[in-house]
């Protein structure tokens, strides 16, 4: 680290040196009377600087790229992620050509055509053929990039396959809450933001029978490998954005407007640990839309595992109703029997109905699967 700082410092010291030596030359020359077509003050050293900086930039950019490359994100762990990665490096490759070419011309011309005594610039106000060439060539390159990008984009944003595992993720200040459809029906129940309270953090609507086996997890998201996963994304308070760097997934979470994103993870956490030779590797979910004080630490761990372990993990989770049996009071009477399945016998006595019956009564709820 200090090595790099030393290099920056060195660059600036060299620059300062060059500048000071020039300054002295300039100061002595100031005293001489200026003739009309003398070389303008400081022109030659500034011309030379363009070449110095050009060479330094080529070395600096190449070296820093090679140095930084190992820290760029590792190979994507999702199918579409590898595709966008390829597209990214392909586009970057194409764009490096004009970047190098144009900057070379700017620096080179500045040096080459610096003021020379008795020289006269060429009067060259236009050339339609040239203008046409550099209108059409960028247009063609753009068209190509647009087309590849557009195809990738429409595939990524197409509707999720029917067999996708549907998982709901809700952002709040400052953590994520994950909800699964549950093992018996694997369907997410309806929700309503007015039903949210300290326990029912995502507003599960218990008058919907699909919600009876839903389970929540505020610390970890598990997903099966090699199967499409459809994230249903919601926000409770302000904007958030689900960002899974290794999956190349990002989608805003918007209060009042559910969003979605589907992807196919194809590397388990264990595989990544082996690939990277890092036994502590974890997939992470971050927030990328500024949401307040805790924005920088809104972390949720993600575990990608094979189908069997995923099923096993799901089966081990306690459903919302098992965790908070008092919410049975909110289940309509005709569905109570169904809701009580799977609950331990001693907790199935309905809680104090008077306390909770009125909350959310008669209110429409949003279907999670719209």
């Amino acid at each position: 680290m200090y090595f790099i700082i030393a290099i920056v410092a060195l660059v600036f010291v060299v620059l300062t040196g060059v500048v000071i030596s020039r300054l002295q030359g300039v100061l002595t020359s100031v005293k001489k009377p200026e003739s009309a077509d003398a070389v303008p003050e400081g022109n030659s050293w500034n011309g030379a600087m363009f070449i110095v900086i050009l060479v330094a930039a080529v070395i600096g950019i190449t070296w820093s790229y090679l140095h930084a490359r190992e820290h760029f994100l590792p190979i994507a762990s999702s199918v579409h992620g590898r595709r966008t990665d390829d597209l990214f490096w392909f586009s970057m490759g194409i764009l490096t050509i004009p970047f190098a070419f144009v900057n070379f011309l700017i620096f080179f011309f500045a040096w080459k055509y610096q003021y020379k005594k008795g020289n006269k610039a060429s009067f060259y106000p236009d050339n339609h053929k040239l203008e046409l060439i550099w209108t059409i060539i960028p247009a063609i390159v753009m068209a190509m990039l647009v087309f590849t990008g557009w195809k990738a984009w429409s595939d990524i944003t197409s509707d999720a396959p029917a067999d996708a595992e549907v998982i709901e993720i809700t952002g709040k200040q400052f953590n994520w809450i994950v909800r699964y459809g549950g093992v018996s029906d694997n369907k997410l129940g309806n929700y309503n933001y007015k039903l949210i309270d300290a326990q029912n953090e995502v507003g599960i609507d218990l008058s919907d029978e699909n919600s009876f086996d839903d389970f929540l997890n505020p610390t970890e998201m598990h997903i099966p490998v090699n199967r499409p996963v459809l994230l249903k994304i919601r926000a409770r308070d302000v904007l958030h954005s689900v960002f899974i760097p290794h999956m190349r997934v990002k989608m805003d979470a918007v209060p009042g407007m559910p969003t979605k994103f589907w992807f196919v993870p194809d590397k388990t956490t264990a595989q990544m640990r082996a690939d990277l030779n890092d036994p502590n590797f974890k997939y992470e979910i971050a927030c990328t839309e500024v949401c307040g004080q805790g924005h920088f630490s809104m972390k949720l761990n993600l575990v990608v595992e094979d189908e069997a372990s995923y099923k096993k993990w799901c089966a081990e989770q306690t459903t919302f109703l098992q965790t908070y049996p008092e919410y049975l009071a909110k289940v309509p009477d005709n569905l109570k029997a169904k809701a009580m399945k799977g609950l331990p016998a001693e907790t199935t006595t309905p809680a104090d109905t008077a306390k909770t019956a009125s909350v959310g009564g008669g209110m429409g709820t949003s279907a999670a699967l719209r």
Binding site: I4, V8, L73, Y124, D237, M257, K260, A286, Q293
Partner: protein, 626 residues
């Protein structure tokens, strides 16, 4: 004609108010209606804001690059925003980021750049006595000043200034319970911006009217310097887009204070479900970026115009492809209005809409490429003089191209999924819009300083300032692209919470060191600027041997700019190094009949029209007044 007569009536009135009475100090230097004084007011205010805005960035760069450093030395200034142990408060970090963005985009690069040079150069380069309405022009500055005072005051609130990012997306910005900065700080932000927009509109209407109506004899649109074209197009962009920001600000004020639900729906916060339903936070983003994207070009186009003028003058060559330059600016301006949603690819907006906006966005690369290549061809076979202005103009082209290219990546919605809201975006727009426009500003200040103050800035100091700044900018922002490719999200107080950001500590420190050094280099400029106002060498009549009309005024132009008649214009402003001419420049006010040795055949035909041009005089506000 009626429009012109209307204007003359207004001007006539103004002349009576001013021309016959001696002006008091207040009228002359404070509540001045003279475009040159107003331009300087904008410039000085802009410089002060820039110092504040850039200092803020240095503080949060220290937080990002050297998270362990002890900031207790800032406690006298920031009080409890710095903890007892010398740590920056996370809320204050967000406030710094927000205010840095707001200040730099609006107060420095919109008001400081466009306000300074549109005001200063439009009358001088088109040959007018002053702006169409000096009074509106004065109001424009003082509304800006008021906006500045309110924004500045918000920095001292106990709860801090606005802190939801410079884009102030609701619901965060709408709900005081979501963040301390969304309380009084956001209220003041909104009031300040509303006043700022009023200022921009007063200024913009004036610029457009002046360019259309007050051009001198012979100054047809195809003889306007590219600076004026860029200011005109900028003003039109502002006039169309700023009212939309005004409406979005207004609706946000309604949501905050009057219980409406334009942007709010289904929110549960602090243990309470809010009653608002039916609004959409995405609506705000659409309205905001309908201004926000043209704003990028409002910031950039004046820089491009200044660069065109400075590069042509100091290459001693006509600008290559004058008409193509105008066409590409018009193209960029038009496209600027139909690409806004590329800021919103991952907001859950309809993916088909994303495809449309991706297509439109990438078209912008074409006129931008034309501009880049035209600048380079202007350098080709020139006879380049490296004045500080010229160095900054060349640097501007390099930054514009380098930063613009990564825009092609971000405009691609499939690639934007990963890169959105990472440091890749930050690096991209700082190069193409921040640094490039700032370089345009520097080029303009160095180039027109002699006209503004009648003094020369120190050339060597200017050249030194350029190299430190230019190298510094690249040292900051190229590594920042790397950090972005690694997926580092922006607006993070620190990178310690995640494994995937547990790297590049050295790179972030490198960026911070480069940022501090570049910041320090700006003091060379500040010293040079302020000391040259008082102690600079007196400027010659035409220090850069330039063609445009401002150099035909007295060295320090007084009220009305020209003593006696306004010069007539007979040619475009780019007759540099014309074959056959003895000098390597022919100013715009020299008729073709005096340059027979260098005229092209079609120009000899224009000699016949010269008498007619000389006879016109309906635009001289002084002649009308007497």
């Amino acid at each position: 004609m009626s429009a012109i007569e209307g204007m003359e009536a207004a001007v006539h009135h103004e002349e009576h108010a001013h021309h016959h009475e001696a002006q008091s100090f207040w009228q002359k230097y404070v509540f001045s209606e003279d475009h040159k004084v107003i331009a300087k007011q904008y410039l000085i205010t802009g410089i002060l804001w820039a110092v504040i805005g850039i200092s803020m960035s240095v503080i949060f760069r220290i937080q990002l690059g050297m998270p362990d450093s002890n900031l207790s030395w800032l406690r006298p200034l920031f009080g409890n925003w710095i903890s007892e142990t010398g740590k920056l408060d996370p809320n204050f970090y967000l406030a710094l980021v927000t205010m840095h963005g707001t200040i730099m985009v609006f107060f420095v690069l919109t008001a400081g750049l466009s306000g300074t040079f549109s005001n200063f150069l439009i009358p001088l380069q088109i040959g007018a006595r002053d702006m169409a309405s000096g009074f509106m022009n004065m109001l424009s500055y003082w509304f800006f000043f008021l906006a500045s005072v309110i924004m500045f005051a918000s920095l001292f609130l106990q709860t801090g200034p606005a802190a939801g990012g410079w884009v102030i997306y609701p619901p965060l910005s709408a709900l005081p319970q979501a963040h301390p900065g969304s309380g009084m700080g956001m209220t003041l932000w909104l009031v300040s911006m509303a006043l700022f927009i009023v200022s921009q509109l007063l200024g913009g209407i004036n610029y457009i009217t002046t360019v259309i109506n007050l051009r001198t004899r012979g100054m047809s649109f195809d003889r306007l310097p590219l600076t004026i074209w860029s200011f005109l197009i900028t003003a039109i962009l502002g006039l169309i887009s700023f009212p939309v920001l005004f409406s979005s600000v207004l609706l946000l004020i309604f949501d905050r204070h009057f219980g409406t639900s334009f942007y709010l729906s289904e929110i549960y916060i602090n243990g309470e479900a809010l009653p608002n339903v039916g609004g959409s936070p995405i609506l705000f983003q659409h309205l905001f970026w309908f201004l926000g994207h043209p704003e990028v070009y409002i910031v950039l186009l004046p820089g491009l115009g200044i660069t065109s003028e400075v590069i042509a003058t100091n290459s001693r060559k006509p600008i290559f492809g004058y008409r193509a330059m105008i066409a590409s600016m018009l193209g960029i301006a038009f496209l600027a209005f139909i690409v806004w949603a590329h800021h919103m690819f991952v907001t859950g907006m309809n993916p088909f809409l994303g495809s449309v906006f991706m297509f439109l966005t990438l078209i912008i690369a074409v006129p931008s490429a034309v501009k880049g290549f035209n600048y380079i061809t202007t350098l080709w076979k020139g006879n380049i003089v490296f004045t500080p202005g010229m160095l900054f103009a060349i640097g501007m082209v390099s930054l514009f191209v380098s930063g613009g290219l990564t825009g092609i990546i971000l405009g691609n919605s499939a690639l934007d999924i990963q890169l959105h809201d990472t440091y890749f975006v930050v690096a991209h727009f700082h190069l193409v819009m921040g640094a490039a426009s700032a370089f345009g500003l520097f080029a303009g200040v160095y180039h027109w300083f002699p006209k503004m103050f009648g003094k020369m800035m120190n050339r060597t100091l200017g050249q030194i300032h350029f190299w430190f700044t230019f190298v510094g900018i690249y040292l900051i922002f190229i590594p920042m692209h790397y950090v972005g490719i690694a997926g580092f999200p922006r607006r993070y107080y620190q990178f310690t919470s995640y494994d995937f950001t547990h790297k590049f500590m050295d790179m972030n420190m490198f960026i911070t060191v480069a940022a501090i050094l570049s910041f320090l280099a700006q003091f060379i400029f500040l010293y040079n600027f302020f000391s040259s106002i008082f102690r600079g060498k007196t400027a010659p009549q035409n220090p850069w041997r330039s063609n445009t009309l401002e150099w035909t005024t007295p060295i320090v132009p007084g009220h009305g700019n020209w003593e006696g008649e306004i010069p007539a214009v007979y040619r475009w402003s780019y007759d540099y190094s014309k074959p056959g001419a003895t000098e390597d420049f022919i100013p715009q006010n020299i008729p073709y009949s005096q340059t027979l040795e260098s005229n092209f055949p079609h120009e000899n035909e224009l000699i016949a029209t010269e008498k007619e041009i000389a006879a016109q005089n309906f635009n001289d506000q002084f002649n009308q007044a007497h």
